[in-house]
């Protein structure tokens, strides 16, 4: 009898401990391609996500004074097997509560389906843009602060049409991202009355692209659209085309926009243009300043990375729990209206509002507005290469 009473007392004690939710250490996986095809972009995305984590952790207002740490995992951007293993480690060995990432569409899909969904862990990707991710079976666990490429195809077409381009040659990196984007560009551009002379894939990581360039050149076209990666085949195809005099103007989709490209290729790239997700909302400028103060650049997808981490943490606060199963239902609530608008650097304020039972509308660095299956509606920054630098034309 005595032991039963003891048992009961112990149980009551335990439950009371659990329900008052003492401060804990929340872990957030930062699951990006720190090495591989887009490492030069991730160099800014990783610190951006970690900045949001630090901001929330140091606010003291998060889940009764809980702290947050980021745990890095490497997607490699292209190698699904490595990415799945890294996600497995984050979830089962590091016990992360949710994941910021992955970055490239193929590895993100693989990690989501093989690891995150079976383990019930929320993933918020800052940069996976494949249209296939809109319809993937995700049990409501997957969100992204980047728009789907289905939307990017429309933007590409608008920009090309405004500039009076009648025909394009199209090359894409042979994976989910490249294929999805090129399909979307082709469909949209042809529907708008443009002519696509050739759609040719290129493999990343090869030494020689002269055959690809030869085929593209033979098909011709006013502009070459390169739906590839900046550190990989995409750059090599552009260099090869310029060397051979095949094309003079290039359209650069999101994976190709970045300062290293004009620096590597030089003056010949001047006059080429493109667009990548970006916004002129007040948040973007604030974020750029914050990035500068913390020693990184507000490069492509860096704002989205910050927003991804912030969304997860705010959803945790709204749910009052760091559990993925609970926070997934709050992501839409914190991201969209109604509520007070939250810009970068105001995470502490947002946490306080949520704690007091108020509502927020997270705007963040990339003007987040979630639609459909949990993806950003999308704002794009149209750029043009001038004097070996990426310059803004306008936002759309």
């Amino acid at each position: 009898m005595k032991s039963i009473i003891k048992m009961a007392m112990a149980t009551t004690l335990l439950t009371s401990v659990a329900s008052t939710s003492f401060a804990e250490e929340v872990k957030l996986g930062v699951f990006l391609g720190f090495t591989g095809a887009i490492e030069s972009i991730v160099a800014d995305m990783g610190p951006a996500a970690e900045l949001a984590i630090k901001e929330v952790s140091e606010s003291g207002a998060f889940l009764d004074g809980s702290t947050v740490v980021g745990v890095r995992g490497d997607t490699t951007c292209t190698d699904a097997a490595v990415a799945v293993a890294a996600a497995e480690r984050l979830i089962t060995s590091d016990n992360v509560n949710a994941i910021v990432g992955g970055d490239c569409s193929g590895v993100t899909t693989a990690a989501l389906q093989n690891v995150a969904v079976p383990n019930g862990i929320v993933m918020v990707s800052p940069s996976a843009t494949s249209p296939a991710l809109s319809t993937v079976e995700d049990n409501g666990l997957f969100f992204r602060t980047a728009p789907s490429d289905a939307r990017q195809g429309k933007i590409v077409t608008d920009i090309l049409m405004e500039r009076g381009v009648k025909s394009i040659a199209l090359t894409y990196t042979n994976n989910d991202y490249g294929k999805g984007l090129s399909d979307s560009i082709k469909t949209n551009y042809e529907a708008a009355g443009g002519k696509v002379t050739i759609v040719a894939a290129h493999e990343d990581g090869k030494g020689d692209y002269s055959a690809e360039v030869g085929a593209l050149a033979s098909a011709g076209g006013d502009v070459l659209v390169v739906a590839g990666y900046i550190d990989q085949g995409g750059k090599a195809v552009i260099q090869g085309s310029l060397d051979a005099g095949a094309f003079e103007t290039f359209y650069l989709p999101d994976g190709m926009v970045g300062d290293p490209l004009p620096l590597a290729i030089g003056e010949d790239l001047n006059g080429s243009y493109g667009a990548h997700p970006g916004t002129d909302s007040a948040g973007a400028a604030t974020f750029a300043d914050m990035a500068k103060a913390n020693g990184f650049k507000a490069g492509p997808f860096a704002g989205e990375a910050y927003d991804s981490a912030a969304l997860i943490l705010l959803a945790m606060q709204a749910a009052g729990s760091s559990d993925s199963a609970k926070l997934k239902d709050k992501v839409f609530d914190v991201a969209n209206a109604p509520g007070e608008k939250i810009f970068p650097g105001e995470l502490a304020k947002a946490l306080k509002i949520l704690k007091d039972g108020g509502e927020i509308d997270y705007v963040g660095a990339s003007a987040v507005e979630l639609i459909g299956a949990g993806e950003s509606a999308g704002n794009y920054r149209e750029i043009e290469i001038k004097d070996k630098a990426v310059t803004t034309v306008k936002y759309r």
Binding site: T35, N174, I198, A200, A201, H202, E203, G205, K206, G207, D208, S210, A211, E212, V213, G214, A215, A217, S218, A219, G220, D231, A236, D243, A244, G245, A264
Partner: protein, 336 residues
């Protein structure tokens, strides 16, 4: 005029890159063929040896750059070739002393040596990544072009340009010089003759007093020269990326086998055959024919035999065809 334009297209996209690529393959295949001829095994580590040599060249290039040495308008990396060859030779001789020699004394069958060379390939690959990392590096400096496409257009008035890169010219010239020197060495010098004797009949060569270890050493030294030059030229022409040398192994072996493995002349011919077939079979001839035939007959499609995705399949296909039809290759090498 249209005829000239069509020819310019062919020259720009097929002939110029084909010549440069063919020279690179020929140099690689020569190395493979030498090892096969003299040491009697297929050296799968050859691609990585090329990469290793190129890596040394890059390390010395950085050293020279930091010292402010330059031989503009030629790329400085040419100067770095000499110390790089010495380093690569030392590395190869160490692998021979530590690994291959053991199996040679045991008179191991060629199949075992192939597996051994695969092991060396992986170790070398790891060392390279350890030292220089897997990144893509551009190693050219000095003048990039001998003739720019735009200059050619202005000069001739054609609407298709021909671009000739400095690296392509250097590649072809170096390959010719190296091949001539190699042939002179094999045909005219006493050491070269003893190598050929050893390759022809090992026992008879031993009876005539030829030192086998010396022959082996000389062979590896030649391989070091060929591999370093081939690897560096490939890196200079495209860009240096350690991963790509593994992919290069297939076309290199195809070149050696097509020409007749063990035959140096065959390696060169094989290199150009593989290079031109890869480019011609995957080239889209639309632009070429559009300019040659009257407008009404201009092709709608791309006139491309195979999509560029299948570039490497071309080497495979040629390899299979040659092995079926004439297993000894064009210049009557050995059968595999």
């Amino acid at each position: 005029m249209e005829f000239l334009n069509a020819m310019a297209i062919l020259a720009n996209y097929v002939i110029v890159p084909g010549l440069a690529y063919g020279s690179q393959l020929a140099l690689g295949a020569l190395g493979v063929t030498l090892v096969y001829g003299v040491l009697r095994f297929s050296n799968f580590a050859h691609g990585e040896t090329m990469s290793m040599g190129a890596m040394f060249a890059i390390l010395f290039l950085w050293l020279f750059k930091s010292m402010g040495v330059s031989i503009a308008p030629l790329p400085t990396v040419l100067l770095a070739l000499v110390p790089a060859i010495i380093c690569a030779a030392v590395y190869i001789l160490i692998t021979d002393r530590v690994v291959y020699r053991f199996y040679r004394i045991q008179k191991a069958v060629p199949t075992i040596l192939v597996v051994v060379s695969t092991g060396i390939m992986f170790v070398t690959n790891g060392l390279i990544r350890f030292v220089i990392g897997p990144d893509d590096r551009s190693i050219g400096d000095g003048a990039r072009f001998v003739m720019k496409a735009r200059e050619f257009k202005n000069w001739t008035g054609l609407d298709v340009g021909i671009a000739i890169k400095t690296s392509q010219v250097i590649t072809v010239i170096t390959a010719v010089v190296l091949v001539v020197a190699l042939f002179w060495f094999l045909e005219k010098t006493k050491t070269g003759k003893s190598m050929r004797a050893y390759a022809d009949n090992e026992n008879l060569a031993l009876l005539s007093g030829i030192d086998p270890e010396k022959v082996v050493r000389i062979t590896w030294l030649l391989v070091a020269v060929l591999a370093t030059v081939a690897g560096t030229l490939y890196g200079l022409d495209k860009s240096y990326k350690p991963f790509t040398f593994l992919q290069l192994l297939l076309p290199i072996f195809a070149s050696a086998i097509i020409g007749g493995i063990g035959s140096p002349l065959g390696a060169i011919v094989g290199g150009f055959i593989v290079a031109f077939s890869e480019i011609l079979i995957t080239f889209a001839f639309k632009g070429f024919f559009t300019r040659l035939v009257p407008d009404d007959f201009a092709p709608e499609g791309l006139v491309q035999l195979l999509s560029t995705d299948y570039k490497f399949a071309v080497s495979f296909a040629i390899l299979v065809i040659v092995l079926i039809i004439m297993p000894t290759g064009i210049f009557k090498g050995r059968t595999l």
